[in-house]
Symmetry: C2
Subunit: 243 residues, 2 copies
Amino acid sequence: MRKNSIEVCLSPALYEYHRNVDSIVVVIDTLRASSAICSAFANGAVRLLPVSTVEEAREMKKKGFIVAAERDGYVLDFADFGNSPFNFTAERVKGKTVAYSTTNGTRTIELASGAYMIVIGSFLNITALSDWLNEQERDIVLLCAGWKNKVNIEDSFYAGALCNRLMENNKFFTDCDSAKIVMDMWSLGKENPLEYIDKAAQRRRLRDKGLDDCLAFCHKPDSTDVIPVCSEGEIVNLNKVKP
Amino acid sequence: MRKNSIEVCLSPALYEYHRNVDSIVVVIDTLRASSAICSAFANGAVRLLPVSTVEEAREMKKKGFIVAAERDGYVLDFADFGNSPFNFTAERVKGKTVAYSTTNGTRTIELASGAYMIVIGSFLNITALSDWLNEQERDIVLLCAGWKNKVNIEDSFYAGALCNRLMENNKFFTDCDSAKIVMDMWSLGKENPLEYIDKAAQRRRLRDKGLDDCLAFCHKPDSTDVIPVCSEGEIVNLNKVKP
């Protein structure tokens, strides 16, 4: 079996055409789920429990968990806080388990559940993640959460950044047109990521809702070396579970 | 109802998220179906009958039609010829009806069948098509045929070229991230389209099969002013049906 291929899946609705049970899937939802998840572990969370539906999130609250939950950028009324990475402060999450539900992010994680391994990628952990991926002998699928199954700019752009890093050494190869498209996006925007993603529909949505305070933070590379990994219904920090 | 929006759908598998029954859908399969269809009308074909399956194509042959049919670039054994635009010569198609089946192209046309109107876009007719679209008061969906539901470079790149043309006047608007992505691709490749699409997987497939003789032809703008339009199970030349 050929290893070390890279595929980029631009939307959850395309995942069945990129699915590879032997691969490591990197789930990407930069604005804001994957940035928030990285922040949670950077600030000492022990584990996140992703839940898909509002009802499941409500049940977790009743069971006494801290609940981070939003839909379309708005915090659900029963939740402790929403999906901004700034919400996952050490004060709130250090040493804790947090139930977590977002519009796209958690559904995308569930979609990839048959893969060999699922990790979470954002600019916050891009170097730690790409260094770790470089050490594996696996195919890699970069899975963009998109927006309600449509392709979005911000996740594609990050996929381009990560793909570009991985392709810099000769270990990986790609036959995937989407990988080449997102690397082109990265080449256009790498000098000024915030300017590049300014045209993204999600950028406008967050601005309209006053939720765009985290934009610079979400595009600043390497604020943490955590690698969130999804396993058996929960997300933990890979660095804490390694032998 | 808002009009004159542009959406770009990067794969048939994403069409349900871009579907708009009031829109004009431009079907794009530049290598090679939409280029072949434009060539057929440029050379005087009266109509094309798109068929999806190999069996349907075989039935059309039995009924006495000229049949153009391929799968994965190879001519089906019972067909008169395949999918190269060079096959649709005036000698073969002038004044004729041709049954036509390709890997992606005809299936993509069927997918869009609920739309207000379906037309075929390629570099061969890009100015005629964009001028005509500019005269309409409709939303527009650019539907890329892709490759077996994966996003491809060549159709996305053409969508970028057409989208860029349409956005040059202030009539149209777009909120679609995919539209902005493909316009970025066009901005990178417009000076040398053949060089840009050289990295496309389909470029390599055609080269491997010795089917890449039509590459330059498929990327040369404005060799014809035909606008193929799909209606009631057939494709005709819009310029010939206008009152």
